[in-house]
């Protein structure tokens, strides 16, 4: 199984400044190497990964790499903040940071793109999105004060029909949110460990947030924790949520209304 990562740039990142092929190649190379590096460390599908040595008990957490320990600490922090809905441990006790790694990887990739001097892009890794700037950097929205440029429009796929969209959301270009993550059981089967007793209320949950890790973690937590977690997340974080129930109905916070 692999994840496809899409990276989109405007044709003209800035007036007068053409994005040349070299820059484009450099950007994709940076993103690719970063994902590969993290995959080597954290994938539970690679027998030789650090995560697997940890899972087999060959490596103790206190002897693990700084990256592993940092992410594990982050995961424990998220578990506390979501009151257990998000957890870095599988039911069998194995430390599984994959709920955090993808968001972390996207976030790091975004930082690298900014470090390359690229300010207008849209990065999509397996359906989790982080954007910067605008698809039309020079543009302004009519009637808006202060003038904002055109936002990246993200569509949210319909879990009942993967070729249809269920909603849209504007990201970046001065909007509240630059990241949108979707969790659910539609694509990979039931890969999220539900909290004990929590019914399967939502088949898909999308969360828009300022950063992609928050969006990703909370989307996962809401699928796992159901409506109580949805309320806690909407109250406690500056996010927008769109949840699709098992019956196909939509629940949304005001950010998803036009």
């Amino acid at each position: 199984m692999g994840t496809v990562i899409s990276l989109a740039f405007p044709r003209d990142p800035a007036p007068g400044g053409h994005l040349v092929d070299d820059e484009f190649a450099a950007a994709t190379a940076v993103v690719e190497s970063l994902f590969q590096e993290l995959d080597h460390t954290f994938s539970l599908y690679r027998p030789d990964s650090e995560a697997n040595r940890l899972a087999r008990g060959e490596l103790l957490l206190q002897n693990a790499s700084a990256a592993m320990r940092t992410l594990y600490a982050d995961a424990l922090d998220w578990r506390r903040r979501t009151e257990g809905a998000f957890t870095p441990k599988r039911p069998d006790g194995v430390v599984d940071l994959s709920g955090l790694v993808k968001g972390h990887a996207i976030s790091e990739a975004g930082t690298s793109l900014l470090a390359l001097g690229l300010h207008h892009w849209c990065l999509n890794a397996g359906g989790d999105v982080l954007v910067s700037g605008s698809p039309l950097p020079g543009s302004t929205q009519p009637g808006s004060t202060p003038p904002t440029s055109k936002a990246w429009q993200a569509g949210i796929v319909d879990p009942a029909d993967r070729r249809a969209l269920v909603a849209g959301y504007a990201l970046g270009a001065g909007r509240r949110h630059a990241a949108l993550a979707t969790s659910g059981s539609a694509e990979r089967g039931h890969h999220i460990w539900r909290q004990r007793g929590a019914a399967e209320e939502f088949v898909q949950v999308s969360v828009a947030a300022a950063d992609v890790v928050t969006a990703d973690v909370l989307a996962t937590a809401i699928v796992a924790g159901g409506a109580p977690m949805l309320d806690r997340a909407a109250d406690g974080w500056d996010i927008s949520v769109l949840a699709v129930t098992a019956e196909g109905e939509l629940l949304a916070t005001p950010g998803f209304r036009s």
Partner: protein, 159 residues
Amino acid sequence: MTVRGAVSAALASAGILLAGWQAGAQVAEVQAPVAAMSVGATGGAAAGDGTSGTGSTDSGSSESSTAAGGTYTGASVQTRFGSVQVQITVKAGAITDVKALHLTDDDRKSVQISNRAAPLLRSEALAAQSANVQTISGATVTSDAYLTSLQAAIDAAHL
């Protein structure tokens, strides 16, 4: 490991990276013709059929004809977050909209009250069905699924 991408005259250009994410085996290399073929199939869906599943409902038209419908405004209630007044819109007996009419904005919590999730009609979801989207959330997790996804069509359209 394949990196595909080019800068074209289109609005935005897409580079596609296939990363062996959480994969023991190398991801199958996607040749451009294959991707182009899948686009031929899904591109049409993105532009046309894709919208039909969710319907081309016009949100306002049924408003007056439904029996248990209308807009209701609740009393202003003092809460520990400040004064809150809520208006709900009911169509065909179901709440379709919850609007906070009055909130105190002096601290962060008072605004968050309005952020609770409420039922939403598909036609009310921020119009995306026909919108020109640049990216898709939730579309794919695996590279296999990617080939038949809207995201693949979007990426290819920009190449």
